[in-house]
């Protein structure tokens, strides 16, 4: 079937819309994941969304709901076990190992379609029902609203926690709230690229944006754009292939953007700093562009 014919089909439209929603949420949290050194937390949460999804499949034949519950439980556990960076890494490692083991055990009891299981790991946005799509949409809007409201104090708390505390920012509470936002976003992203490849949307676009800009707002905007291009670009590319999963294309595009950003970034930043002395002016122009 030709490319354009796909675009007329409701399932393809739904998938593209879902991917776009997921991309916006991922692009918004990505810069904070990097600033707060939480890449491992993203990976841990997504692995455990897999456990939740396996449990969801087994108990209610609903992987998405299971993954959501799993991610939220894990977000709570990580928050309770240690918000501080060092404690956090080890506690995530412990929970991740135990949870993955449990997930594999649950899957060995599952006698439904084998593809359901691989879909959790590698993602299958085309398999998402319209009901689940609605759920994903609600979550994406929720994450976007929450990030818009929390953006400034969360940035303050992430970059400059000592002064933020002194200025009355609830730094600890924000850290825990962000864990839950992360959990919801990760579960969403897992629907598009699978639990194993969540980092390709939650981190790679933001990491590429980091390479290109100094201003936090510009980085956030670029991260959203890169995530959108990766997610929807990957889906569109997958229409041309029957055997390769969309997640592969998503990962490929986001990685390509990152590589280009790494190569161009230093040169771009150096030339900008050299030519324009006032960083604010540049940032504003970039943001407007």
């Amino acid at each position: 079937m030709a490319f354009t014919q796909y675009l007329g089909l409701p399932f393809a439209q739904h998938a593209l819309l879902a991917a776009a929603l997921v991309a916006v949420a991922c692009g918004l949290i990505g810069p904070f994941v990097i600033t707060r050194s939480m890449a491992f937390a993203v990976h841990g949460t997504s692995e455990l969304a897999f456990t939740g999804a396996a449990a969801g499949l087994l108990l209610a034949n609903n992987a998405v709901a299971g993954a959501l519950v799993g991610a939220v439980v894990v977000g709570g556990l990580i928050g309770a076990m240690g918000v501080r960076e060092r404690e956090r890494d080890s506690s995530i490692g412990v929970i991740l190992a135990a949870g993955m083991g449990l997930g594999v055990l649950l899957l060995s009891f599952y006698h439904g379609f084998a593809t359901e299981a691989t879909n959790i790991l590698f993602g299958d946005i085309f398999g998402v029902s319209s009901g689940q799509l609605l759920l994903l949409g609600v979550i994406a809007v929720g994450v976007t609203v929450a990030m818009t409201v929390l953006y400034r104090p969360l940035l303050f708390a992430s970059v400059d926690p000592e002064v933020a505390v002194a200025r009355g920012v609830p730094v600890r509470l924000l850290g825990i709230v962000f864990l839950f936002i992360l959990a919801f976003t990760v579960t969403e992203a897992a629907q598009v690229v699978g639990t194993l490849l969540v980092l390709s949307l939650a981190i790679t676009p933001a990491a590429a944006a980091h390479r290109l800009a100094d201003s936090p707002l510009v980085v956030a905007a670029l991260a959203v754009v890169f995530a959108l291009v990766s997610a929807d670009g990957g889906l569109l590319a997958s229409f041309e292939s029957t055997s390769v999963k969309p997640s592969v294309f998503v990962v490929a595009i986001s990685f390509a953007i990152y590589v280009v950003a790494r190569l161009v970034g230093p040169w771009l930043k150096a030339s900008r700093r050299g030519v324009v002395s006032d960083g604010a002016e540049t940032a504003t122009k970039e943001a407007a562009a």
Partner: protein, 316 residues
């Protein structure tokens, strides 16, 4: 000494730094905004206060009244509770006994009346936060929403950045700035809220002598122009000696308050430490040799190397 700052930066102590600090406009002070503590009310009043973590008592029976506009240096070895004192004033730590008042009221977390310059921290080199973003936090970082560069806010941020002489480098990522440059931005950040009280926690740590002079001169300039009370935690009294009104010396739960001349003497410090302490004065500098020292240090903390101590005082 304020001239020293201008002279130093003009001499290129920090490359790319515009000369000096503008003496015309008060540092970071919007016109017509009252900043000082109301007359008659002490900026900080502490009575019989104690702080303890479990069994460990940090200090006990502390009495301290800091009048508005005073420059108070807080000295003492590591673990003596210098930072804890700042946290109590900030309302982040509750005293286990006694009373603490800030401008006549109980300390309130997040109070706009207090500007806080924390101990230096290393920022990631690639952190996408520019110097001016860090400063901007001082204005509205605690408010919900997205960082929007409204014209009025940008004007105030630019103004305060100019006042501390940071215009040239405020657009660069914070992680790529030197310690001295970061410290200037910290001052700008603290002044943006137009505080009546400025709490500084070792702002001179890891700065060279030239930058120590610039930073202390900037802080004192603000105090003189806006009547801001300064509480300055330091392990070395010498860089702030020209400005200091009084010294609070904390050692092992005990304390002494008074002018530098009163406190930094062999007798006072020996009785405070409960052991033989030597105070050496040479070339306008004060060096305290305390019992927990293996080496000499500029009046105060024995655990930092005597970074600014000229070699000739070592013989004393």
């Amino acid at each position: 000494m304020a001239d020293a700052a201008r002279e130093l930066s003009a001499n290129g102590a920090s490359p790319g730094t515009p000369a000096g600090t503008s003496a015309a406009a008060p540092v970071g002070r919007p016109v017509g905004t009252p900043a000082g503590t109301p007359a008659g009310t002490p900026a900080i009043h502490i009575e019989h206060a104690a702080v303890a973590y479990g069994e460990r008592r940090i200090w006990d029976g502390l009495d301290l009244t800091v009048p508005a506009g005073e420059f108070l240096a807080v000295l003492g070895p590591n673990g003596a509770g210098k930072t804890t004192l700042l946290k109590v004033v900030l309302g982040l730590e509750r005293p286990s006994a006694g009373t603490v008042e800030v401008e006549g009221h109980a300390p309130r977390r997040g109070s706009q009346r207090i500007g806080y310059i924390p101990q230096q921290r290393a920022f990631d080199r690639d952190l996408p936060v520019r110097g001016r973003d860090l400063v901007r936090f001082g204005l509205d970082g605690h408010r919900p929403g997205v960082l929007l560069a409204r014209r009025e806010s940008r004007r105030r941020v630019d103004e305060v950045i100019g006042a501390v002489g940071a215009t040239a480098f405020a657009g660069a990522p914070v992680g790529r700035l030197s310690g001295g440059e970061q410290e200037r931005l910290r001052i700008a950040q603290a002044l943006l809220g137009d505080p009546a009280i400025l709490l500084c926690d070792e702002p001179l740590l890891s700065l060279d002598v030239a930058h120590q002079r610039i930073i202390t001169a900037l802080i004192d300039q603000r105090r003189r122009q806006a009547g801001t009370t300064v509480v300055f935690v330091t392990h070395d009294i010498n860089p702030v000696l020209p400005y200091v009104d009084r010294v609070l010396y904390l050692v092992g739960g005990r304390f002494a308050v008074g002018s530098p001349a009163e406190i930094l003497t062999r007798e006072r410090l020996s009785s405070l430490y409960g052991a033989e302490v030597d105070v050496v004065r040479a070339g306008g500098r004060v060096v305290v040799v305390s019992p927990d020292d293996d080496e000499l240090s500029g009046a105060g903390d024995g655990h930092h190397p005597p970074a600014v101590c000229p070699p000739e005082t070592w013989e004393g």
